[in-house]
């Protein structure tokens, strides 16, 4: 469960770097390509749990990684550039979700379709009842298995706020799924 965490050997990764449009690849390109391959799918999945639309999730992740490359000279020096790109993606996803929710209210649209996979459809539907930040906190905690401090850093809030998001999310999901709500430490 969760993502394979990055090792510290980014620069010595054995995988071949992507051919960046035939340009000579320097260390920055290699590092960016490495990070992209390592994190892109995870960011798409997290965005999907916020947006519940695969295409939208891929677009959001794509945009976040494009912004990362534009600012790579600066962000690439950060200790955790993957936290930066997640933060951007989650912010974009939350903004897009709010826009979609408003549009749905305006047009009285039906719920977006759920994936045609053997998944817990009730859980997916219940997630839709959560606010964007709660969805993001649930995805980062349960799917990506990230510690509170890191979730707080990605969401740009305090650890206490993350705990509140998770508490409210669990409470709401327990109500909707008919499960017993037990707070986690």
């Amino acid at each position: 469960m969760g993502l394979v965490r990055r090792s510290s050997q980014r620069d010595t990764d054995a995988r071949a770097p992507v051919n960046l449009e035939g340009r000579h690849e320097d260390q920055a390109d290699v590092a960016y390509a490495w990070l992209f391959r390592e994190e892109f799918a995870a960011v798409v999945r997290t965005a999907f749990l916020i947006l519940h639309d695969r295409q939208e999730a891929e677009d959001v992740a794509q945009e976040a990684f494009t912004q990362l490359l534009v600012h790579w000279r600066k962000v690439g020096r950060y200790e955790r550039p993957e936290a930066w790109v997640r933060r951007v993606a989650i912010r974009l996803a939350a903004r897009r979700l709010r826009r979609e929710q408003l549009r749905a209210i305006l047009h009285r649209s039906v719920d977006p379709p759920v994936p045609t996979l053997p998944v817990d459809v009730d859980l997916l539907r219940a997630l839709r009842a959560l606010a964007p930040q709660q969805r993001a906190a649930v995805a980062l905690f349960y799917l990506e298995d990230r510690p509170m401090a890191e979730i707080a850093q990605i969401l740009g809030c305090s650890k206490a706020t993350v705990k509140v998001h998770l508490f409210k999310a669990r409470k709401r999901l327990a109500e909707l799924l008919g499960e017993e709500h037990v707070d986690v430490p």
């Binding site: 469960m1 449009e21 892109f40 695969r54 494009t66 990362l68 053997p118 998944v119 817990d120 327990a174």
Partner: protein, 203 residues
């Protein structure tokens, strides 16, 4: 099953169904980022060019316009002061002069100009005027400017001859007598005062 376990397993299964084409997206991200960088550089270049053009072409013109505004009066409005004093020219007629203005002229009568007048023309271009008691107009702040044989003055410009252009006179001095001949003055009262007879120097 506990809620936590359901969440971990359920979300994991949902996520497992999301498997994007990472290399395709990577190429797209690289293309998109390069396009943005190019656009950003182009915008910065255009902005720099605009600044250079402004500083080289527009700014000097604007400065010229500003400085000419400070030199020229607004159109259609009489000049409140005479241009830069030419002390050398003013010196030619500097002194104190007197004359008595007769009451025959209608402009003299209507403006109560009749009587004894004294003008002191100072080298720096100021003009001290002493009028007869019957005259009630504004005299303070009057100035004059002499260039060669012409004189311009702001005398009466604040009330008796308001809203009219600054007049130009030709001056001639013979001995103690100073005469003004109007070249361009639309104000009859001023012509009657300055040019209807000679001004006699106090010596």
């Amino acid at each position: 099953m506990s809620l936590d376990r359901r969440l971990r397993e359920g979300l994991g299964r949902i996520a497992a169904g999301i498997d994007p084409d990472v290399d395709w997206h990577l190429r797209r991200a690289v293309r998109g980022a390069r396009r943005r960088v190019v656009l950003r550089r182009a915008s910065a270049t255009l902005a720099a060019a605009a600044v250079i053009i402004t500083s080289l072409v527009i700014a000097p013109r604007a400065l010229d316009a500003l400085s000419s505004l400070t030199r020229r009066p607004p159109a259609g409005h009489p000049v409140p002061t005479v241009a830069e004093p030419t002390t050398v020219g003013n010196q030619a007629i500097a002194g104190t002069y007197r004359r008595s203005v007769p009451a025959g002229n209608p402009d003299v009568r209507s403006n109560h100009l009749a009587g004894r007048w004294i003008i002191e023309l100072r080298p720096e271009g100021t003009m001290a005027v002493t009028a007869p008691a019957s005259f009630t107009g504004v005299l303070s702040g009057s100035q004059f400017q002499v260039q060669a044989d012409t004189l311009r003055t702001t005398l009466f410009i604040q009330d008796v001859c308001s809203n009219l252009p600054v007049p130009t006179y030709r001056w001639t001095r013979v001995g103690e007598r100073l005469r003004f001949t109007p070249i361009d003055d639309r104000c009859g009262a001023r012509v009657a005062l300055l040019a209807s007879g000679p001004w006699v120097s106090d010596g």
